[in-house]
Amino acid sequence: MTKRIIGWAIVGATTAIVIGCATAPTDAETTAKATQVLKASFKARGQAGMDRLDQDETQKTCSEYAGKPVPKDVAEKIEKINLVAIK
């Protein structure tokens, strides 16, 4: 009897984990949704147009790391892109 209960408990816990993993959005999905919600929550005003919510690659990358250290290769790439942008 005890073995059967334990067995069912394991099945239940496994199912819960599988469902949880299947339904939790990935970080990329959350980022995409946040951008979409942001764009739907603002309106252009004067010279502050909606294009100000369009991120370039640097902004996208820096937002993604959210204050955490950026890996060296990524940092170098950002630096390179931005050095080229200096006229």
Binding site: K33, T35, L53, Q59
Partner: protein, 274 residues
């Protein structure tokens, strides 16, 4: 001293001067922060926010709108008409609307569903200016005052509440605009300030609690009581973003992120700020 070679004396002098300068600046900064704290404490006596709270209470109890009913059947999450402690648990998921709402969004909901206003009318004029006072700010002042001293307890257990939190966190770090700003630019480091205003580090528990629990606030410089929706609206304006729509999904998600991070702290508003 006379035994030291001349260049060494000069170097020592330069180091000492630099040290004195750094210490002097640090002391001046501390002293300025202390003086600002004293100024704020002095202002606490007789906070004009009380006028907004009193007007808000009248508006809450008065039959209004096409249906001529009061807010006393408005459910802020603790049951119809229950105001005491309600703000300390907002934003939250409301089954009747099937969405997460902050205080202002819920007030709009009640104005539409109970009082019969159109949504456009309910959302009109959310922020007062001069003689044009905003009912929304008064209502928010009253409701929030009924949570003064109550510990923040935003649940975040419903899937939609969890989603709002995750989206709000992403938005906090979202860099954009003509000046490449994010909320985090000003609010993810210690001891930042814009002019005389301290900027709490919202990535730390203490900063998040201090930052969130002191809004709404009467702004001395504006002669108005400002809500948390206004705080977000004006932060984005200063970031040179387009205009944040009142009671928008982004404003609710950001509020959820910040409010939940303030959990455990006693709510202490309407406050008074410079």
């Amino acid at each position: 001293m006379s035994k030291l070679p001349r260049p060494a004396v000069i170097r020592l002098g330069a180091v000492a001067s630099a040290l004195a300068l750094v210490v002097g600046v640090a002391l001046a900064q501390t002293s300025a922060i202390d003086e600002i704290a004293k100024y704020r404490a002095a202002l606490q006596d007789g906070n004009p926010a009380e006028l907004w709270e009193a007007r808000g209470e009248l508006l809450w109890k008065e039959p209004r709108g096409p249906n001529k009913v009061s807010f006393q059947k408005c459910d802020l999450g603790l049951g119809p008409g229950v105001v005491k402690g309600a703000y300390a648990q907002l934003p939250r998921y409301f089954a009747d609307a099937d969405r997460v709402m902050d205080l202002e969004t819920r007030i709009v909901w009640c104005m539409v569903k109970l009082q019969g206003f159109t949504e456009a009318d309910a959302k009109k004029n959310p922020f007062g200016a001069g003689e044009r006072k905003a009912d929304m700010e008064a209502l928010a002042a009253y409701v929030t005052s009924e949570s003064r001293g109550v510990k923040m307890n935003v649940a975040g257990t419903h899937p939609k509440e969890r989603e709002a939190y995750r989206l709000g966190e992403k938005m906090f770090w979202f860099r954009g605009g003509s000046h490449d700003f994010a909320c985090a630019t000003c609010h993810s480091a210690d001891s930042q300030r814009i002019r005389l205003q301290d900027l709490p580090n919202l990535t730390k528990k203490e900063g998040a609690q201090k930052g969130y629990t002191t809004w709404p606030a009467y702004r001395v410089s504006q002669g108005e009581l400002r809500t948390f929706q206004w705080r977000l609206y004006d932060c984005f304006r200063q970031q040179r973003f387009p205009e944040l729509e009142f009671a928008s999904d982004a404003s609710i998600a950001l509020t959820m992120f910040l409010a939940q991070n303030a959990n455990g702290a006693a709510f202490d508003a309407p406050a008074i700020k410079r």
